[in-house]
Amino acid sequence: MTGIRVLISRVLDLLFSGRRERRLDEEIRNHLELLADQYVADGMAPIEARDAARRAFGGVEQMKESYRDQRGLPLVDALRQDFRFAIRLLNRNRGFAITAVLVLGIGIGVNNMLFTILNTHTLRGLPMPASHRVLWLSTVDDRGRERGLSFADYQDIADGVQHYAGLAAFEGGPMVIAGDGRTADRLDGAYVTANAFDLIEIQPLLGRSFAASDDRPGAAGVAVLTRTAWESRYGADAGAVGRTISLNGVPVTLIGIVADRSGFPGTAQIWMPLTQLPGVTTRTRDARTLQVFGRVADGARVDEAIAEVTGIADRLSGEHPATNRNTRARVVPINSRFLGNARDGVWRAFITVGFIVVLISCANVANLMLDRSLLRARELAIRASVGGSRRRLLRQLLVEGLVIAAFGAGTGLLVAIGGVRVFRRAIPADALPYWFDYSLDWRVLTALIAVSAATVLVFALVPAIQASRTDVLTVLKEGGRSAGAGRRRVVATMFLAAQLALAVVLLAHLAVNVRLDRSGLASDAIFDNPEIVTAAVTLPPASYPTATALSAFYESLLARLHAVNSQVPAAIASTLPASGGEPREVVIDGKRGPDQGDEQTTLAIAITPEYFRALGLALLQGRELQDQDGNPGRENAIVNLAFAEKFLGGESILGRRIQLGTADPRSHATGWLTIVGVAPDIRQRRGRTPEPVVYTPFRPDPPATAALIVRSPIDSSGLVAMLRQQVQALDPALPIFRARTLPQVRRDLDWNGRVSNGLFLFLAFIAVALATFGLYAVTTHAVSQERHEIGIRMALGARTHQIIARVLRRLLVQVSFGFAAGVVCTMLWERMFPPGDPNIHAADPVSLTLVALALVGLMTIAAAVPSRRASRVDPLLAIRGE
């Protein structure tokens, strides 16, 4: 007890040491006066009395020292002295201090920025309480394809489990909201089981969330809305709760409002109970479309909970062999389902780059510290010779490192915050799910502090040990000119080679990215054509229950658009360019079927006639689809050039027949389709060589959600207004959404590539800047170390260009080392992470030539100042020695 009291009191003393000191002074002064007064009263002369008082009191300074020893903590006091000294010293060498802090700050900052991104995407967990105890359930078939659960399976499993607080299911889909006196609007929606909100502990902001009684067949329709949707549609009117609206053509009552970031893995803005999803309860056991998650019950173990579900699924496979024989359950933590895994290759590469950047900046600062410790060798040697212990010297140097690291950490935090902000801003607002939150948290700050502290070990410890080890005698005799220079040069060259190697890896990939974006297709022009405008519609199943109803709508819409202006080409497609497509297996008539495990796949896109005309592209062979295509007897299709080359290379194409597998493995393949045209390749995904695409007629099986495409020189907002008008003339309750020009479509879909390119460019820039700085620093140092020798050479008649050549030669050796190391690293890197385009390699001659040119540029920048300095050495001064 007393021990702790004393410690606390000492720590407080440490904080208020100034006050303590003043108090002691005052007490002593007072004491001496009172004592002197006493002596005067006893009959002494005042001057004598004062001396006598001092004698009686004893040594004032000695007493103060022993008082101080008792106060505060001696080690902390000493460290405080070291810190004060270090700051004074750095303040005196401001150029060095600022350079070191900046270089270190950039390294730490980039590292922390990458860590923030990593943290957000892999470590942080979904924003729901105890997300590590929430599991995600899905099924896998015998070919490894992952799907959801069927309603029947979900119910059997939910009824059978005991280790769960509950299992919730949901199915997302677009919902058209109308019937409230406002224009119809389309929202992302989901049908959820009543327990879903409770399982992730979401309280409604207003009204209530679903009760079990809402989630029964035949219950009155109810819906819950997010705050943003509520604010934008109803102006945050509390009276909206309780109002009856129309959702997908069905009357429902709004019963509650929930926060936007509801922790729900999805983009839904509006929810209805699952049983209100038409037909869900009578679906077959193999309609596996439900997303299912569950919270492990308190007291149950996660592995038990996982085993329990897989056990029940295995039992169901036995009981329902027709539908479940080849299906197994897959249960994983929800975080690993919706977030990246830090152990994945991409993230490992990310972490590696982060640490290499920080190591490079450490290496640079270490070089600076080494240089400085050579300059300070004399000071250190004198301190050692007057009795400064080696430990004390080492401590002093480490404290200097700590001070630099602390400032570096501060700078790094600013760099990281700024970098993350730029990164976040580069991503379109709605592109990332809401659970990716890039804000600071304790993990990021811990990483920042840990990395900064670790840098001290790298950049300060080695120089400090070397400096504290210097031989006092030699240093004092030789003025420290040659102390440790040889070993130092080897270390510096190694540091440099490593820096350059990383710069080479990044530059090579930058070159690849530039070349990838350059390797254009003729059709890429459509992505720059703002005359092409698109918008999407979703036809609710309540109003359009059959394929015939869907077809009728699309056809009358196209007819209306033509009636408005027959010069404006208009088409409808299931998937826009640059937006992917549906992967399908393909069989070609007259060709051997694919070997097992060796699937032939193609993308499939359903289009109406005039699709290519609307995009402003001409077919390479054959014709566009026509109105009658898709009808019985006219099952025709168009393939693209990549398809023709891959599957029918060198053969005649028109008239060949193909068969597509369906996305759903249960149903049978489509009938035979006859190829009537060959289309030019259109990029469906970024950064890849064009993939095979089959364009099928829209009619037999039109999708409920489709993209409208029109092309006209009149301005895009006019076109959008015209589209909306024509759609709503057919169905007033039908909103259009995602109205954009094609260039915007590509921008919104390309963000991933754009952002990762930007990040790469940024990292490459940092690595190159640091490497250039390192080259510069090392060369400058070498020149100043060799002044003596350069002086002799000049005195013996060496010309300026010879001296400069000497400087450059060494640089060239270092850069060549770095380049060679970099090429090896690039090749290793490519082996670990295969490139997206097999024709463009980071380590191929074109890329490497570009990189080599860049390095020569760097060298020139780094060499300019030091070589000029070398050429201006005055032989007389240099030989005489400073």
Partner: protein, 109 residues
């Protein structure tokens, strides 16, 4: 011939003085101890300040500003309840030590 302050007894003397006399400033404590020793003790008056700090850190005394007899601001020290308990303990310990040492010395002589 006055002797040095025996090791460890200064704290005890300070506590005892404060317990008997009420709050005092440093000079008052030193003077009181000298008076009690009646010239038998050579006290460097300054040494009581580290002792006061030590006792205060342990929570046995507390201090506050007051006005001294020469009308100056002075730090007045007072014993705390914990200090009184400690004083009782140490007095008993001191008595035991002294009697033990006495017995030892008598036996030897």
């Amino acid at each position: 011939m006055s002797s040095e302050v025996p090791y460890g007894t200064l704290d005890l003397m300070v506590l005892k003085t404060l317990a008997g006399m009420g709050p005092l400033h440093g000079y008052g404590i030193a003077r009181r101890i000298e008076q009690a020793a009646a010239g038998a003790l050579a006290l460097n008056q300054g040494t009581i300040y580290p002792a006061l700090l030590r006792l205060e850190q342990k929570g046995w005394i507390k201090s506050d500003w007051g006005t001294s007899e020469n009308n100056r601001r002075a730090r007045f020290y007072a014993i705390t309840a914990a200090g009184r308990r400690q004083l009782t303990k140490e007095t008993a310990l001191w008595a035991r030590t002294v009697s033990m040492v006495n017995r030892l010395l008598e036996d030897q002589s």
